[in-house]
Symmetry: C2
Subunit: 216 residues, 2 copies
């Protein structure tokens, strides 16, 4: 979804191929022989660039950076100066290393733990990741509040005054909280700037287009 939104924003055509999570079946499994041949880590997404001799790269953050490096030569989505780029990348790394592992672990504890370990997730696990997700959301909330004051509500993006790869990374994971907040013990009403930000991102034509093409 992160990568699809950027591809649609860059008006680059793409085809989405799904893999089966939790499976090591040869043809379709995320840990199967075929997929491991293109992504040694056996996780999604992986990009194969047919415009560049089928060059292959995995890790969503690296894919986003590759695409802007190659196809956004003006730096609209990556930042135009070393300083803009650094600010964009700061929020991109915050998302992939500080936000998604925490939300991912909380989600796993509520949805998959029992199946994996034969018992409900211990209370302390839920507490640890729920607390940390709330802290992370506070960091987003504070930043988006500042960006609203600085750039106006219609340009309240995470890093700059326009959507960047930091946003294409963040809005997908924050958007999940609109649908699964109850399950994860997160009430987005407590983070009004985050809630508005999700709406802002979903209002982009590129994101609407991506939502038609990329399924969970």
């Amino acid at each position: 979804m992160k990568v699809g939104a950027l591809l649609d924003e860059l008006k680059l055509d793409y085809e989405v191929k799904g893999v089966d999570f939790g499976s090591d079946e040869k043809e379709k499994g995320v840990k199967g022989e075929n997929y491991l041949a293109i992504c040694a880590n056996g996780r999604t997404p992986t990009l194969i660039d047919h415009k560049n001799n089928d060059f292959t790269v995995w890790e969503s953050g690296a894919i986003l950076q590759y695409l802007v490096d190659k196809y956004d030569t003006e730096g609209k989505y990556a930042g135009k100066t070393a300083e803009e780029k650094a600010t964009v990348n700061q929020w991109l790394f915050f998302q992939v290393s500080g936000h998604s592992p925490v939300q991912g672990n909380l989600y796993f504890s509520q949805v998959y733990w029992k199946n994996a370990f034969g018992e409900d997730a211990p209370e302390t696990v839920v507490k640890r990741f729920n607390n940390e997700l709330h802290r992370v959301l506070s960091v987003y909330e504070e930043q988006l509040k500042k960006q609203t004051e600085k750039n106006g509500a219609s340009n309240a993006w995470l890093a700059l005054d326009r959507p960047t790869i930091a946003d294409f990374s963040a809005f997908v994971w924050l958007g999940i909280l609109s649908h699964f907040g109850d399950k994860l013990g997160v009430d987005l009403a407590k983070f009004p700037h985050v809630a508005k930000y999700i709406q802002l991102a979903e209002s982009l034509d590129s994101v609407k287009e991506m939502r038609k093409r990329v399924q969970h």
Copy 2:
């Protein structure tokens, strides 16, 4: 440590200032007013670039990329082409999003859980993060084996045939396993290429220099 190693490699002078982890004391706490003013996320590291009007950036991955963008204009440590850069960044993102959160959670479970929650970490927590750390180490092992065959043992770096920012990110966290493997239930003897890689990185003059200057 990641940033210090690169700064020493680039022969850029730096001063290390420590903050107190787990503290919100105004002057020195990682969640104190002074530090939050430069790093909204209240985590380390943060770089203040005195050669560039005190430009400030946090998140280790973003700092490494900023430094090479600004001070490694040949792309020695970042990659010289879009494809080299993408491969370097792929392994950099793998480290910060796939490796360190897992190892960090396992370490927390063994060292801090009892203090945080008044009870030992549940067995399933240790199992979850120990299993995933072993999977991550297998991905490193396989890649380093390939790199050894391709570039020789003395150039068996993670992404390219020379040390890059992906290595400055990875070796620090892998090196921790040389010292705390017992506590984390990891036996590096089962990952011989990873063990050799740690030695290779620690043999760099820049890393030796960094070890003198940066403390835990």
